[in-house]
């Protein structure tokens, strides 16, 4: 992954749960397909850094936050519904 002025995405998970693993896989797939070369994914495991849950207002797991471009967008779930992810991230399907 290289620096991009495109999409900066953060995925919050809690350990290696099936939902977390599915979410990571789904996110990568969607990004590769719709934002090739224009995205950056940061995966944050709240089990390792629980203080971030409060600081970043995380309730549901998994939660995907679009840090950039502004404004902030949130999507919760394992991201299995691609259409909703695209709407949530404000990405026009290719």
């Amino acid at each position: 992954m290289t620096e991009h002025d495109g999409y900066n995405l953060r995925l919050y998970v809690a350990g290696q749960t099936p939902k977390s693993i599915a979410a990571i896989a789904n996110l990568k797939k969607i990004c590769e397909q719709h934002l090739p070369g224009r995205y950056e994914i940061e995966i944050i495991d709240l089990m390792k850094d629980p203080a971030l849950a409060m600081r970043h207002q995380i309730v549901a797991i998994p939660t995907l936050i679009r840090q950039l471009p502004e404004p902030l967008k949130r999507i919760i779930g394992d991201l299995s519904n691609t259409e909703k992810v695209l709407i949530g991230l404000d990405i026009r399907p290719n």
């Binding site: 749960t17 629980p50 207002q57 309730v59 949130r74 779930g77 709407i87 949530g88």
Partner: protein
């Protein structure tokens, strides 16, 4: 009573209790909320759920050394801190000291897109982290139902909530979960299904435009609890639940006395005054002197070192102090010495139950030995007659249980009513009836001790007079024309006095007459005696004159004889020669 019950529950292996530190609530729950378990606190909007919950946490830190976490779904931390600042809770300090943590959970449906399966593990992690970081023993979740409007998947939410409550139990924290009241259900989303250990319902009812907050313990698994609705108040001194409904008749009767403050009235009460812990009713019409009797009582209580609360329903404290100054009672000095506390409020300020709760709070705050409620009848303005009766009954019971002597004044509608409107006369131990009788164009105050339980008391109607040095009781004038008071009494007394004077004068006159006569007679006797004496003297003179004459005759005869040379001897050889010298 509550004290005893609490002690008992401590002895038995029952549910552990976590004291809330909320006055009254710990009595009603016999010790507090179930320890290490979640309690559901439900009620409609604005009935004080959040304040209740925050008080639970605050007291936990300040009074019981148990740190707490507040998970807020509805209010932001800053707002929450500001809101409870009105209760003088310094939340910021507790947060700085790491005794309290507030976490505001923001959920807004419009900002969240859902895609696929999720759970609320994030919430668990947050809460778990907050709990662990300060070692919290108490948790408040306010109001978790917000999740239902923030997230779509209700089915998932329900299973996650179930998991959350189990998780809280496993964590061993004592938790309060608040919930909004639903139509026909305790909470809108049926939280009571999950939180089954203890459910407390708060309520804010409006009756006749007066609101009364009430609390009821709907269920408390594994513990006895009070089942009634208890009024509670929220004000700058925090939350107070009035734990009494009717405490029964188990109070201990005292034989100690408390003076009435009116020496003449004490005389009517076996010379000692009221029994300590008794309830005294002073009833009478407007202006019959009820408040003055009440003030005398307060004054006397303070003078004997007993603290007193004066609940004023119609006058402001300064007005009472000024007015009582005119009859020579200085109440201000007791206020200054913190022996007397005024608590003035209009009856219509809030509902009856709230009045009761406020009084309860004041009494448990100040711990007085005497209480004045002036006038009790004003409470009718705050509720129905039946409600007032029940309220006064509870108040009397509560005061009696604490051994507090209470004086209630009651404004009667007509003179000489032998019933009070609120029908509480039977609850009272002493009943002073004040009349204001009109006769001869003036009103005169009279006092009658209608009853006084447990002591021989005077049955006389007394006239009472308010002077610049307090109330004086006078025996009324009972004459052939009936009972006389006021100027009629004075007139009669003057009349009597005049008649007495006249009689005295008459006697004096007679006495002097007699004296005069005696002296007259004595004088007459003197005159007669003088006459007699002079007559006697005259007679004596005649006698001596007679004998002198005879002597003369004899002497003359001798002289004649001598001249005739008869040699005759004198007629009588006179022992005392005659006046004439013989040569």
């Amino acid at each position: 009573m509550a004290e005893k019950a609490r002690a008992k529950s401590r002895d038995l292996p029952t549910v552990g209790k976590s004291a809330t530190g909320i006055r009254g609530l710990d009595e009603v729950t016999l010790g507090g909320l179930p320890q290490g378990r979640p309690t559901l606190l439900c009620g409609s909007a604005g009935c004080g759920k959040t304040l209740f919950a925050m008080t639970f946490l605050y007291n936990g830190v300040v009074e019981y050394g148990e740190p707490g976490v507040f998970l807020a779904f509805e209010e932001r931390s800053e707002d929450l801190i500001k809101n409870v600042g009105s209760l003088n809770y310094d939340i910021e300090r507790l947060i700085a000291e790491k005794k309290l943590a507030i976490d505001h959970v923001e959920i807004e449906r419009t900002k969240i897109e859902e895609s696929g399966e999720y759970d609320l593990e994030g919430l668990f992690i947050r809460l778990g982290f907050a709990i662990d970081s300060i070692g919290a023993k108490r948790v408040v979740i306010d109001t978790i139902e917000t999740l239902f409007s923030g997230l779509e998947n209700e089915h998932l939410l329900r299973s996650e909530l179930r998991r959350l409550f189990e998780w809280l139990k496993a964590k061993g924290v004592t938790a309060i979960i608040t919930g909004e009241r639903g139509e026909g259900t305790l909470t809108r989303y049926g939280l009571e299904e999950y939180v089954a250990d203890c459910v407390i319902l708060l309520d804010n009812r409006i009756h006749d435009q007066l609101s009364t907050r009430r609390l009821r313990i709907v269920k408390y698994r594994g513990s006895a609890h009070g089942t009634n609705e208890y009024p509670f108040i929220i004000d700058d001194k925090g939350i107070t639940v009035m734990p009494i409904t009717s405490s029964g008749l188990a109070h201990v009767a005292s034989t100690e006395r408390l003076p009435s403050g009116i020496p003449d009235l004490d005389q009517m009460l076996e010379g000692k005054g009221y029994f300590k812990g008794s309830s005294i009713l002073v009833s009478g019409m407007a202006g019959s002197g009820k408040s003055t009797i009440a003030a005398h009582f307060a004054d006397a209580a303070c003078a004997s070192g007993v603290r007193c609360i004066y609940f004023a329903m119609e006058e402001s404290p300064s007005q009472i102090i000024r007015n009582m100054g005119s009859v020579g009672i200085d109440l201000q000095r007791w206020v200054d010495k913190k022996l007397l506390r005024f608590s003035a409020r209009r009856p219509s300020l809030f509902g009856l139950e709230t009045h009761l709760a406020t009084m309860y709070r004041e009494v448990s705050d100040f711990v007085p030995g005497a209480v004045v409620i002036d006038p009790m009848s004003a409470l009718l303005g705050a509720g129905e007659t039946g409600d007032v009766h029940s309220m006064v009954l509870r108040l009397v019971d509560f005061l009696k249980a604490d051994g507090i002597t209470a004086l209630f004044t009651n404004l009667g509608v007509s003179s000489e009513t032998v019933t009070t409107e609120i029908q509480i006369s039977s609850l009272m131990d002493v009943w002073l009836l004040l009349y204001n009788r009109e006769s001869n164009g003036e009103h005169n105050r009279q006092l009658y001790l209608l009853k006084s339980r447990g002591m021989a008391h005077s049955n006389q109607v007394r006239e009472f007079i308010m002077s610049s040095d307090g109330i004086k009781l006078r025996e009324v004038y009972v004459g052939p024309d009936g009972v006389l008071t006021g100027s009629a009494r004075l007139t009669q007394e003057t009349k009597d006095k005049a008649a007495g004077l006249l009689r005295a004068q008459e006697i004096e006159r007679r006495r002097r007459e007699l004296e005069r006569k005696r002296r007259e007679i004595a004088a007459q006797i003197e005159i007669l005696r003088a006459q007699l004496a002079s007559e006697e003297a005259e007679v004596g003179l005649l006698n001596s004159e007679g004998s002198a004459h005879a002597d003369q005759l004899a002497a003359d005869r001798v002289a004649i004889g001598m001249s005739r040379q008869t040699g005759a001897r004198p007629y009588r050889p006179a022992p005392k020669p005659a006046n004439k010298p013989k040569k």
